[in-house]
Subunit: 138 residues, 2 copies
Amino acid sequence: MDATDRRIIEALQQNSRMTMKELGELVHLTGQATATRVKKLEDLGIIEGYTIRINEERIGLPIHAMITIYTTSTFHDPYLLFLKEHRQYVRHNYKVSGDGCYLLECRFPTNQELNAFLDGLSKYVNYKLSLVIDQNTQ
Amino acid sequence: MDATDRRIIEALQQNSRMTMKELGELVHLTGQATATRVKKLEDLGIIEGYTIRINEERIGLPIHAMITIYTTSTFHDPYLLFLKEHRQYVRHNYKVSGDGCYLLECRFPTNQELNAFLDGLSKYVNYKLSLVIDQNTQ
DNA sequence: GTTCACTCCTTTCATCATTCAAGTAAATCG
DNA sequence: CGATTTACTTGAATGATGAAAGGAGTGAAC
């Protein structure tokens, strides 16, 4: 991991579909040398994969919820199974120290579906709901 | 947005560097027809960009913090300016309803840097810190 | 029923990127 | 000093892309 690798990662974060030749021009290497470095970053597990940024509002998922989960029981499996069954809504489930046991990030198409999800959720855990009003990603 | 577009989006979420020809085989179209559809999804703003999934632990950012921000003042600009000055740590700054005004997601290399960040932060807002212990992304 | 316009797709071909093998140069190590 | 490793370049073959031309299906107007 040198300065060139860091520039490669930065460039791929901006646009992961750029050709190895273009990327090579940015870091002053040939396309082949660049491809070898990228392959190494993949093998080291630094680059975990290639994906797209999606506008979830535009595909009908306008509701963005952050749910702090409080479990009274020490047995979390029913909650985790519930998440698996509703994985279509779940973006992240962070196990956290501090306030609550988990911080659950979800997306919903409607308030009705959010409501139904929360009804199901309340069978397993207590929760506190926050709705995202505006998103400022770096 | 039909079923084919949804399959294209799913496939690109898994691997955004796949060729249009490969993607076309998945959705039973030629590479050219697939490329046209992808271009349309970009123009509609549904696909916002192409990026990489990074293992931040492996690039020296093991500390993952979720910070709930409480502002007493109605004037948020000093806080937002502080974030801009420390944007290297900031991943997301969600404006939320519910508990707090913002939910701030950050990454730090060391507890020392987290501590310095929190010292700076406390000049502008009150906060509650949660540290991510484990991450379960869908 | 016919025509026109439109959308969505395929085929073909020229251009460009990628990949493999071979070779060079510098650094490391016994 | 010679052998090995690492990181890179070059050149040729393969494969992907993008532009142009054309075909098939749909719906509207007459």
